[in-house]
Amino acid sequence: MSDEQISLPFFAIVLLVSGLIVRYLFFSGPRPERPPARTAEQIFRSREVAVQRIQQMFPQVERRSILWDLQRNGGNIQSTTERILSGRLETPPVTFQPPPPRNQTPPSGSPGPAAKQAEKPSQPDLITRYNLKSKITDETATEEKKEVEEDKKGKGWSSNRDERQSALQRRRDEMILAARRKMEAKIAAEKAAQGSS
C-alpha cells in the first residue's frame, strides 16, 4: 500500500522529467537553426544599420573594414568601435567583397524631378555672395576717387597676412562692382536706344 502511494508522485515526476527530455530533444532542436535561416535578410539589414552608426562616429573608416570586423565579431558594434578607437581594425582581405549599401539606390517610386532639384541648389548672385549690398547703395561719383586710392594701397604684396587678405578682398569686391557699374551703364544705354528708336 505504502509502496504504491509513494510511487504515484514519483511516477508523476518521472512523467514530467521524461516530457521535458522529449521536449528538449525534439522541439528545442530546430530552434537554434531557425533564426539564421529566417534572418539572413535581417542580419544584412542590422549590419547595414551598424555600419551606418559606426560611420557616423568614424567617417574616415572604410565601409568594407567595418563590415569585415562586424562579420568576424558577430555584429557587435561596441567591440568594433573599441577596435577602431585602439587602432586595431584590420584591413579586410581582397576576397571580402560586401554587398553594396542598399539604401543608396533611390527607390524607383520616388519622383525624379524632386531628387534632381535637391541636387542643384541655385547659386546666389555675386552681390549676395560677397555681401556687397551696402557698397552698391552708397556708391557715388566721389567713391571712385577713393577706389583709385584703395587700388594703389591694394596693389602689391604685403608682408602682413591680414593686409594681404583684405587687399585681396578689396580687389575682389572692386572687380564685381566695376563689372556691375559697366553692366548698369550698358543696360541704361540699351534702354535709351530702344526709347529713341
Partner: protein
C-alpha cells in the same frame, strides 16, 4: 613635408598673382589658414556673350600639389555648350559641368556640379586614350594662372564637337541668338541686375 612644399609653392603663386595680376583675374586663398582652398573671379572674355560678367570659381589643391593638379569648380550657374557628361571622360576638348538653374526657361537643366574639366587639370602623363598630349595635361610647371587663363579662353571658344550639355550645344548651333541671350541674362543675374 609634402604639405609644406604645397604651402610654399601656393604662397609663391599667390604672391605672383597679387603683384602681377593677369587681366580679368583675381585669385587667392579664401583664408591663409588653409592655403589649399582658393577662390577666384574670372572675367567673361570680351566679344563673347560672357562679356561683362564675373564668374566665381573655387580651386581645391591636393596635399601633394604641384605634383597633382587642383580641382576647379564654378560657383556660378553657368551655361556653356561644352558642359560635359561622364559619357566622355577623356574628350580632348575643354569642358565644364554646368548647372543651369539660373536659366529657368530651359526645360532640361544640365549638370549639377559646376566642375571644370579641362585637360590642364587632368593628372600628368599621356592620356591612355591618346586624346590629350602630355603637354596639354597637368604638370608641376603649370600654374594657377595658366589654369585660369585656359578657363577664360574656354569661355571664349565654345567647342561643340563633344558636348554633353546637349541642350546648350544644340541651342548654340541652331539658335545662336537665343543662346547668347540666355548667357547674357545669366551674366546680369550674377551681378544682381
Amino acid at each position: 613635408m609634402a604639405q609644406s612644399t604645397a604651402h610654399r609653392r601656393l604662397l609663391q603663386e599667390y604672391r605672383a598673382l597679387t603683384n602681377n595680376p593677369p587681366e580679368g583675374i583675381t585669385a587667392g586663398p579664401v583664408s591663409e589658414d588653409d592655403l589649399l582652398h582658393w577662390e577666384c573671379l574670372i572675367q567673361g572674355p570680351e566679344g563673347t556673350p560672357f562679356e561683362g560678367g564675373v564668374f566665381p570659381a573655387e580651386l581645391k589643391f591636393p596635399k601633394d600639389y604641384p605634383l597633382a593638379p587642383p580641382t576647379m569648380k564654378f560657383l556660378a550657374d553657368m551655361w556653356h555648350p561644352n558642359g560635359m557628361g561622364p559619357l566622355y571622360p577623356h574628350s580632348r576638348h575643354i569642358y565644364i559641368y554646368i548647372p543651369a538653374t539660373a536659366f529657368q526657361h530651359c526645360a532640361k537643366p544640365v549638370y549639377p556640379s559646376g566642375l571644370v574639366c579641362i585637360s590642364i587639370l587632368h593628372p600628368p602623363g599621356d592620356d591612355p586614350n591618346h586624346y590629350e598630349h602630355a603637354s596639354e595635361r597637368w604638370s608641376p610647371i603649370q600654374s594657377v594662372e595658366k589654369i585660369l587663363i585656359s578657363v577664360m579662353s574656354m569661355l571664349a571658344e565654345p567647342n561643340d564637337e563633344s558636348p554633353a550639355n546637349v541642350e546648350a550645344a544644340k541651342m548654340w548651333r541652331e539658335r545662336r541668338d537665343e543662346y547668347e541671350k540666355t548667357v547674357r541674362d545669366g551674366v546680369r543675374r550674377m551681378l544682381g541686375l
